[in-house]
Amino acid sequence: MLSLESITKTTQDWLLAKFDPTIALAIECVIVIVLCITLFAILGLVLVLLERKVAARIQIRLGPNRVGPGGIFQTAADTLKLIMKEGLTPDSADKFLFNLAPFVVMMVAMLLLAPIAFARNFQIWDINIGVLYISSISSLSVIGILMAGWASNNKYSLLGAMRSGAQIVSYELSAGFAVLTIVVLTGSLQISDIVAAQENGWWLFKGHIPVIIAFVLYIIAVTAETNRAPFDLAEAESELTAGFHTEYSGMKFALFFLAEYINIFIVCAIGATLFLGGWMPLHIGHWESFNHIMDYIPSSIWFMGKTFFLIFVIMWFRWTFPRLRVDQLLNLEWKYLLPISLFNLLLVTVIAIMGWHF
């Protein structure tokens, strides 16, 4: 069967046979960059359309259905429109930072793509501190948002950016602790080790109730970290018009928009990797025949299926809940989520030490 693993292997073997290792590595880098950018573009198109369709489904309406069959080219048309639009820079804005901010946000999203395992042996960079890398890089996106809010020289933008700063810094903690529970159980920070540890069952099922709590905490925290409703205070269109990107237009706005969706994809991919076994098929104990059938489904489909399921859950949140107020948002984190996740981490550590997990 043609798998992603064999494609990468053949390509590498061919390159190494033709060129010397340094040039082969350089060519591989170029291929990876091109593939990443393509993935970004496709993800942006798919996720925006998915969001609009999910929203339409929840809101008893049809959603985009004019451009192409079932409206599938709607986002492509929108992107074309955004590219053709003029990218305004306000007169009183800090021109350099204003124009830099969308790229910072975008670059952070791109960097996060590196350690994600998309399929069996299909990973850009299996760094041995993978989880730490993800946690540290993902907190950088706040810099881009603060930069955008500050440089716009707009009061709404500034308020949005300040909210976003407070929010991301707080929720980073809960997300970090939720991720740590899995690190404690696996005993490794490397993504491939974490996935391999889930061969006989996903952590969500193996790790008793504490891991389920950690999973719920993770989903809540990353929803807040990606500035999605009900935690979309940084944008809060009914309060701050559009928050930190009020002054942005054209492609610069599109980059923020795209980065938001890529970030959702990435946090859901990490959630799927840590709690739902990444590309690991669903295996149940000693049901040999069932496990064999599950193995026939390609690992990339398992990974994408899990990731898109989590994305759907996050979209579902957005179209169901009202927005929290800023003080309630911080109360939720510091008074409830953080103590719970600390205690939960302790429980998981006890479980891991005593070997009570399956």
Partner: protein, 378 residues
């Protein structure tokens, strides 16, 4: 009052340390129209709110002075466009009172049904818009599904969906559509089935409750002293339903409750409006099978002239008490006309109840005051 918020030319001294003056509106997603709020902030906390009006002032009162008693009613549809039937009713009632015109029973009953349908439509739109202010998009579509049925009924009946102009001095402009009763009954049935969806989606939602409970508390004394009326005052425990106090049309023969809540916060205002919709349904149910046969408009003179004197009529719109005051010199046009609109008084309370809260609370408070800007500005 306006001196305090002039355009600041000198930006070196911008007031006390940490203060931020934000112009919310006239173009802002949450002000639902061209309301301009000058909000002084300290971080996220509101220190002062100054509403600036006049962006949609069309001098309706002055315009009415040059229109005859048949014509001026049409202008009033443009005041509070969400309860245009009720505005029209107020004006028609006043002319009828002034000229002792006998209104047929059929017209009275149909007017009452249409007024209650208008009230439901207005509250439906309000639920959607308020939920949107709080960041929930979905209730808007659910609310509009039912509202659409009402606007369809209105379109059948009057040919218009928003500015109806259907009620004239003496009764109605035309007779009702043959399908009127079946359509209204279908609407009642659908509404009763679907209203639980709002409860599931909005009322019981923990985030919604934490956003509205204890937010923008208006005490009974303040509600009276600021002249608040309608659901806003009733949520603070003030009995002020004109349909009970001074019944007009067919309100004296129907049974319904005046919804009173005592908490006075945004959640109480929400509950009052949701319960009021159910009471409106109750009123319509009592009347829809009992529309008397007969004339739909009473006998009137071709040229209407009010006797010399002063006339006042008040009705209960979806937002509160609408008063129409006319000074007549005995001519075919009013000498002076004044509308007491509910929105103006309800807006005046905003600074008092939202001061000291967060920006998010301002949206919840403003949303539950249910402001319609053309009603405030006229």
């Amino acid at each position: 009052m306006y001196n305090e918020t002039e355009i600041i030319k000198d930006t070196t001294n911008l007031g006390p340390e940490g203060e931020l003056v934000v112009n919310m509106g006239p173009q802002h997603p949450a002000t639902h129209g061209v309301l301009h709020l000058v909000v002084t902030l300290n971080g996220e906390t509101i220190k002062k709110i100054e509403p600036h009006l006049g962006y949609i002032h069309r001098s309706i009162e002055k315009m009415c002075e040059s229109l005859t008693y048949r014509q001026f009613i049409y202008v009033t549809s443009r005041m509070d466009y969400l309860s245009s039937h009720i505005n029209n009713t107020a004006c028609a009632l006043l002319v009828e009172k002034g000229m002792q015109i006998e209104v047929p029973e059929r017209a009275k009953v149909v007017r009452t049904i249409l007024n209650e349908l208008t009230r439901i439509a207005s509250h439906e739109l309000w639920i959607g818009a308020m939920a949107m202010d709080l960041g929930a998009f979905t209730p808007f579509f659910y609310a509009f599904r039912e509202r659409e049925m009402i606007t369809d009924i209105m379109e059948d009946t009057c040919g218009a969906r928003l500015t109806m102009n259907y009620i004239v001095p003496g009764g109605l402009m035309y007779d009702i559509h043959p399908d009127f009763q079946t359509k209204v009954k279908a609407f009642i049935q659908q509404f009763k089935e679907k209203v639980t969806e709002y409860e599931d989606l909005v009322t019981g939602n923990i985030i919604f409750q934490s956003r509205t409970k204890g937010v923008g508390v208006l005490t009974t004394e303040d509600a009276i002293s600021y002249g608040c009326t309608g659901p806003v005052a009733r949520a603070s425990g003030v009995r002020c339903d004109m349909r009970k106090i001074a019944p007009y049309d067919a309100y004296d023969r129907v049974e319904f409750e005046e919804i009173i809540e005592t908490a006075g916060d945004s959640f109480a205002r929400y509950i009052v409006r949701v319960k009021e919709m159910n009471q409106s349904i109750r009123i319509i149910e009592q009347l829809i099978d009992n529309i008397p046969e007969g004339e739909f408009v009473g006998k009137t003179k071709n040229v209407l002239k009010l006797a010399k004197g002063e006339f006042y009529q008040r009705v209960e719109t979806a937002r509160g008490e609408l008063g129409v005051y006319i000074v007549s010199e005995g001519a075919t046009t009013p000498y002076r006309i004044k509308f007491r609109s509910p929105g103006f008084s309800n807006l005046s309370v905003l600074n008092h109840i939202a001061k000291g809260s967060k920006i998010g609370d301002l949206m919840a408070t403003m949303g539950t005051l249910d402001l319609v800007i053309p009603d405030i500005d006229r």
